[in-house]
């Protein structure tokens, strides 16, 4: 096969893996954003973080009802602790996503994209 054509195919393979790997990294990030408490699940979005901060700033710090991802009402006893936990979870997941994404950007070969950590 023509050398330049072979290289083009190699690049195409690399791009397919890179695109798939970026999507998986995003899925892993989103999976990491799910926070569980008292049988309820909350996806830690910027909206949730902002709303919970608003509750705290408005003085709703105890026994406050939140609606989870499945529209289930849940009473949160300590809203500050809940906020600290979801904020921590958000940053942990975001940092992991950042590391994975930055690492993917640096790679130039399929083997490096799928190398075990």
């Amino acid at each position: 096969m023509d050398e330049r054509l072979e290289k083009a195919f190699q690049t195409a393979n690399f791009m397919a893996s890179l695109t798939g790997q970026r999507k998986i990294a995003l899925e892993e990030f989103q999976q990491g954003l799910i926070y569980y408490q008292s049988g309820a699940s909350f996806t830690v979005t910027k909206d949730l973080l902002g709303f919970v901060k608003l509750l705290i700033d408005s003085g709703y710090t105890e026994d406050t009802v939140l609606i989870d991802d499945n529209n289930m009402p849940v009473q949160i006893k300590d809203v500050q602790a809940f906020y600290d936990n979801i904020l921590d979870q958000y940053f942990q997941s975001a940092n992991q996503y950042f590391v994975k994404y930055t690492n993917l950007k640096r790679q130039r070969k399929v083997e490096d994209l799928i190398k075990y950590d």
Binding site: N13, A16, S17, G20, Q21, K23, I24, E27, E28, Q31, G32, I34, Y36, G39, A40, S41, N70, M72, K100, V110, L113, I114, K115, Y116, D117
Partner: protein, 288 residues
């Protein structure tokens, strides 16, 4: 309330489901830290695998059910895009899990479901009676996803992983699955299912639809945490290491060509049993 995981493993002439179940059970213990019981028609095979101590209980289908008269069907098992075989497929025992499970709260997983996170820990001690995956993500991203049984039909649920609490509601649900199984040719036509083979996914989806009174947004089945990530048997499992898996996913329109991908820290349903079995062998060889 006792809690634990139940895994089904019914071997055929080529696929050692018991070996896959042993590997899955070790992962459950590592990531979820609950006891695991095995339902199998080949309990003696555990001795060959030196895995008698992996399971909390081993439930022998020959002893506890009318297994001799149970149905068996055939289906094709792929090992990548280019290789396939027609083999026996014993998947009719799943509806018996209510009676077979020794636990009050049970998480049932397929033997080819690779746990790589503690995500499913969230299922225990919640208010739900029954939880199952509806949302899924195919690592290929180009294949048509399983949202509904077909374009005119009801929502699709994955019987790969599900949780139930023993009570009268869930007992009724599994009775219903049993009836659907016994009258499969009728339900298959009623719900416009093309495939002739019985699939637990279909039977569960139909039973959930009935339990919901035909309302696709009914509340009988709660969602399990996150999504079900999967590859099909036309993809190839390259290897597994810790909480990471490496797979070759078939390319669209190029049979026999694959895209290499890696997952990290997410549970994955890897349907190619041949290559999964090889990957498990290599994993344990590397560990020794």
């Amino acid at each position: 309330m006792t809690k634990g995981v139940l895994i089904f493993a019914q071997n055929n002439s080529e696929i050692d489901y018991v070996k896959l179940a042993v590997s899955a059970a070790r992962r459950v213990k590592e990531y979820l830290n609950v006891p695991v019981s095995l339902v199998t028609d080949s309990p003696d095979h555990l001795l060959n695998l030196n895995a008698e101590d992996v399971f909390d209980q081993v439930i022998d289908l020959w002893k506890v059910t009318d297994y001799r008269n149970s149905q068996i069907q055939n289906r094709s098992f792929h090992d990548g895009t280019l290789k396939k075989k027609i083999l026996k497929w014993n998947n009719f025992s799943r509806s018996d899990c209510y009676g077979l499970s020794p636990y009050d709260e049970t998480l049932v997983i397929d033997s080819d479901y690779i746990i790589c996170s503690d995500n499913l820990k969230a299922v225990w001690d919640n208010i739900y009676d029954f939880a199952i995956y509806k949302n899924s993500y195919d690592l290929s991203r180009w294949r048509i996803s399983y949202d509904h049984l077909n374009q005119y039909s009801i929502p699709f649920y994955w019987a790969t992983v599900f949780y139930f609490k023993k009570n009268e509601y869930t007992e009724s649900f599994f009775d219903l699955v049993q009836k659907i199984k016994e009258n499969w040719s009728y339900y298959r036509l009623l719900y416009c299912i093309d495939a002739g083979t019985f699939r637990n996914d279909y039977a569960f989806s139909i039973a959930i639809n009935i339990m919901n009174g035909g309302n696709p947004n009914g509340d009988f089945a709660s969602p399990l945490p996150g999504k079900l990530y999967y590859t099909v048997d036309k993809d190839i499992v390259d290897s597994i290491q810790g909480n990471q898996t490496r797979v070759l996913v078939e390319k669209e329109s190029f049979p026999g060509e694959y895209v290499a991908l890696k997952t990290s820290g997410i549970d994955v349903h890897l349907m190619n049993k041949y290559s999964l079995s090889r990957a498990i062998d290599n994993y344990f060889e590397d560990a020794l």
